[in-house]
Amino acid sequence: MKKKTIIGLIVTGVIVIFAVAILFDCFYTVAENEFACVFRFSKMIDITDEAGLHFKAPFVDEVRSFPDTVMLYNVPQSEVLTADQKSMTVDSYLIWRITDPLLFYQTLGTISEAETRLDALTYNSLKNLMGTLKQDDIINEEAVTARKDIYAGITTDVAKNAAVYGISVIDVKIKRFDLPEANEQAVYERMISDRERIAAEYTANGEYQASLIKNEVDKKVNIIISDAEAEAAKIEAEGEAEYMRILAEAYDTEDKRDFYEFIKALEALEASLTGNEKTVVLGPDSALGRILINSVGK
């Protein structure tokens, strides 16, 4: 009796555990960010991306989940050659998601396998595209949109090739696009020489501007002086005119003019004979000559 009870309890316990196990194996949950694929004897019989509680046949059905979410893949940095045989370092990333879990499982199976393929696809696409572009086409000061179009081409290309894996490539973006480190020193040297040229330009231009100002100042100064001299001369001329007018007015009669002429003649005589070593030749008939001949010659 005792033994039977114990065995009975054990059997009941096993059955209960078994039943609970079956019960639990009838359900599976699906998260918001996953696909759940139900495999029955290794064949996929159901796919759902509906989050929540789902039913399945216990034991025979196996559930595998795949991410139903946008994933980031950091493409390892690589070197590519441009059309003009210049080497450039490209670092890019890729945004992708699984769109067809069955196809994805059939063709790749795992995320890491998918990343290997995406890496290869991206590298190829980048290499091909860069091979058609010159370095100047890639590095320039034109609008961002021009480069955006170039990179959109890579996304389209990779997306097209990844479709066979049940993968949708949402975006491929270049994170870094740089000159290889070996070229950097040359760039630095060019930057320095550029700066030296610009500095020289600033200096020369400053001096040029300064001399323009100075020349303009000198011109203005000279004009101011010249104008002033002209005006001064005019003023002086007015004085002269006034001088002449006043004098002319003073000698208004024949007698006055006659007397004035006489005064001026005397003044002129005096002025011309002032000083040493002057010589005067007198005619014999001049008033003074007559006097002198009479006193000396005869």
Partner: protein, 337 residues
């Protein structure tokens, strides 16, 4: 003894089993109570899933949930401004380390610059943040890096280092915002700022500084020229004024000369008209006698053959034989002396 011991045993056993069951039951109960509720901080929003499906989002406070893993709760810092540092990293002690692989980039005019960015963002949709992508924060960081390089790659080095920063920030923000909306990963960008932008090496930095020095030098030269202008123009104006004033003086002086001359003449004339002839003779000889002492005289004479000869006369001052007959001028005598 046997019966007693049996009784003892039956009495004791249920007690121990009962205690164990009670203990298990209590632990179970506490665990149940403990997993029936959760709290949400003011910084966060809680996303509740029931069997994996999102059924609720809750704000700050205490909330209840179904235990045994039927309902699960994830909290997301929706109110906190998240940050991304590009080109540098803040250490715990507040100091920075630069991350050159992130900051070093090429400009549109083939210059290399180091630019550090600081980006702020928020989780705008906690459900999308949790489920639409595997690693939304890293996606945003990568996107930021790509758009920064895209914009810097379209800008010339002078703009990046000096006056183009605001424009770059705006461009980067606009581009990221647009793409982020397409990604739909529950994030919203709030701010993009350039923390620092500088040339890559010390020697290059020195060259850039030399340009600044040259700029200053040019400005100094222009300032000096303007100072020259400010000094020279008033000086010239002063000189011009002086010239004019002097001319006005000369004008007035000349007029006064005329006035003086006329006054003198009139005075002389008024006396002259009283006896014109004698005054004329007097004035004539006064003048002659004033000038003749210093003069050598020659007189042209004509001899019998009709040849003109020059008769030299020594200085009048040495001649005493001058006769003062023939003149009525009393001053002639003075000449002879």
């Amino acid at each position: 003894m046997n019966t007693r011991s049996y009784v003892d045993k039956t009495k004791k056993r249920p007690n121990i089993v009962g205690l164990i069951f009670l203990a298990i039951g209590l632990i179970f109960l506490f665990t149940l109570i403990g997993t029936c509720w959760y709290t949400v901080d003011e910084q966060e929003t809680a996303v509740v899933t029931t069997f994996g499906r999102v059924t609720a989002t809750n704000g700050a406070g205490i909330h209840f949930k179904i235990p045994f893993g039927i309902q699960k709760v994830k909290t997301v810092e929706t109110n906190v401004y998240q940050k991304i540092e590009i080109g540098y990293a803040t250490k715990e002690d507040g100091t920075y380390t630069s991350v050159e692989s992130e900051s070093k980039m090429i400009t549109g005019d083939y210059n290399i610059v180091n630019v550090d960015f600081f980006v702020q963002y928020k989780i705008s949709d906690p459900v999308k943040y949790l489920y639409n992508s595997a690693n939304p924060d890293m996606i945003l960081k990568n996107l930021v890096q790509s758009q920064i390089r895209s914009v810097i790659g379209s800008t010339n080095v002078d703009s990046v280092l000096t006056d183009g920063k605001t424009e770059i920030q705006i461009k980067v923000k606009d581009l990221i915002t647009e793409i982020l909306a397409n990604y739909d990963i529950g994030l919203i960008l709030t701010d993009v700022t350039i923390q620092d932008s500088e040339p890559p090496t010390e020697t290059v930095t020195a060259a850039f500084k030399a340009v600044e020095t040259a700029k200053q030098g040019a400005e100094k030269a222009i300032n000096n020229a303007e100072a020259y202008q400010n000094a020279q123009i008033p000086a010239a104006q002063a000189k011009a004024d002086s010239l004019k004033k002097n001319a006005e003086y000369l004008k007035q002086n000349r007029i006064n000369e005329a006035v003086k001359a006329v006054a003198k003449f009139n005075a002389m004339y008024n006396e002259y008209v009283n006896n014109p002839d004698i005054t004329r003779i007097r004035m004539y000889y006064e003048t002659i006698s004033k000038v003749l002492p210093d003069v050598k005289l020659y007189i042209i004479t004509t001899n019998e053959k009709g040849v003109e000869t020059l008769l030299p006369l020594d200085n009048f001052a040495n001649n005493s034989g001058i006769n003062n007959s023939g003149t009525n001028n009393k001053n002639t005598g003075e000449v002879a002396q």
